[in-house]
């Protein structure tokens, strides 16, 4: 079987009302996959549930040939899932370096990964001894990405990379990510704007009201503009 991150029949509800219904998706190593959806479509919930921070009501998550459905987040991190969560969730009074170090504790070769991360995100090297809470938004996002990469993930789940960032910075981060795929990491990238990720993604899924309604390359779905118009603009009935 081909190694990949596989999500099958995923249903997630915060209470009893399902937020996500019957999600099936997969991400191959080195692949960058986008999930595009409007506000409230369930993007954040999907990533949290794949990471194991939020319980799924039904369905399975597989990392390569390993079923991780019943694992808590701390174990999923150990088998190769990493998450750049919404709002970044940094440890505000830890330094940049401590963020990398704590995530590197499950990495068999943290020093090498750290070098790679600092090369990829050189800003972090400059800010090494600074507490995360004192950094700018873009720098914080870099810490969140760096921290996730330090676990040497097989698959990286990234929630709204662009949120609150200037487009230039967001673009810079996307490029860094694309470079990181060279190490074989598959990336699942959640975004609201198809334009931001247009150059980075191999494929996208369209998420609407808790269901995946389409899948394919941006081009096969009509391009970023059309997708933005059709799916991600004002909330409408139907697909």
């Amino acid at each position: 079987m081909i190694p990949k991150l596989t999500v099958t029949g995923f249903t997630v509800g915060y209470t009893h009302v399902p937020v996500l219904r019957g999600i099936d998706l997969d991400v191959l190593p080195s692949e960058v996959v986008g999930i595009l959806g409007a506000n409230g479509a369930g993007k954040t919930t999907l990533l949290r549930a794949i990471m194991g921070t939020l319980p799924a009501t039904s369905g399975t998550v597989q990392v390569d040939d390993l079923d991780v459905t019943s694992m808590p987040a701390e174990d999923r991190a150990r088998v190769g899932l990493a998450h750049v969560p919404e709002g970044r969730r940094l440890f505000s009074s830890l330094t940049v370096e401590e963020h990398l170090d704590v995530a590197g504790l499950i990495n068999p070769d943290p020093a090498a990964t750290k070098d790679q991360v600092l090369e990829l995100l050189p800003k972090l090297a400059e800010r090494r001894r600074q507490k995360a809470g004192t950094l700018s938004g873009g720098e914080q996002q870099m810490v969140a990405i760096g921290r996730a990469l330090m676990t040497a993930p097989r698959y990286l789940l990234i929630d709204e990379l662009s949120a609150g960032l200037a487009p230039v910075i967001a673009q810079e981060l996307v490029e860094a990510l694309v470079r990181s795929r060279e190490s074989g990491t598959g990336v699942l990238l959640v975004e609201q704007s198809p334009h931001l990720v247009a150059d980075a993604v191999d494929r996208v899924y369209l998420l609407e009201r808790g269901s995946l309604v389409a899948e394919g390359t941006l081009a096969s779905l009509g391009g970023a503009d059309r997708i933005a118009d059709l799916y991600l603009g004002v909330d409408r009935e139907g697909a």
Binding site: T53, E74, P85, L90, F91, S93, D101, V102, M150, T151
Partner: protein, 285 residues
Amino acid sequence: MEISLLNGAFLGVIYGLIAIGLVVVYRVTRIINFAHGEIGMIGAFVFADLWLDHDLPLVLAVGAGIAVSALLGVITEFVVIRPLRGQPRLTVMVGTLGVSSLLLVYAVRRYSPRPRFARPVIEGNGFEIAGLLVRPVQILTLVVALAILALLALVMFKSSFGLRLRATALDSEAAAEVGVRVGRVSMGTWAIAGAIAGLSAILVSSQVVFSAFFMSRLMLRALAAALLGGLTSVTGAFAGGIFLGMAEGVIGFQWIAPGAVEASLAVLVMAVLIVRPKGLVAAEY
């Protein structure tokens, strides 16, 4: 006046030492562990049992007492904290209150509610400062408290356990997502706090009336000390304890009306918290 302050300071060392253990747990779990005193008390009873009644060497008896308290900390984590994870914090705190009652009842049944003989772990005549005899065990308590502070700082800031612990304390969900086993961190924290409780209780047992209730009674002051220190700073809690002890020493000397000390200290703590709602010392992570 000096003698009251000096005596109060040593009294405060006791409050501060107990408060340190409260902060260790609070910092990671945001739970005030109301069973802290009783967890230590049981350790002290085991210690006294082994040392005085079974003639075990001092070091072994101390070790056993500390181990029992650490184990009780772990059991509390396992039985109360873990199953109640995600419940409102008040619920969890009531859970620790339940543990405290349980341990108290156990101690009363096992050892009787009566006072017991307690021998200081180091004896000797002590020395006089400003008309006050300072006993060796008081000095030892101070030294141990400072050593615990130093050791905690070392563990917190120089060890990988400390790194995990600080990350967990700040955001346990994000910590779990980078592979930190937050359950183990929590358990380790409770073990450390339990060990501190046991050691505190062993040292304090010979300085107050040694009965099943001796730690419970000190908890109110320790809690106030921890609050003064901002609840998240061990050095703040220790300083808060000493501040409180000195205040008690002076007020107790100056003012003998019934309830004067309790009322004054309550007002004092409230006043400090109004001026500095986050306590005397900033949080430490």
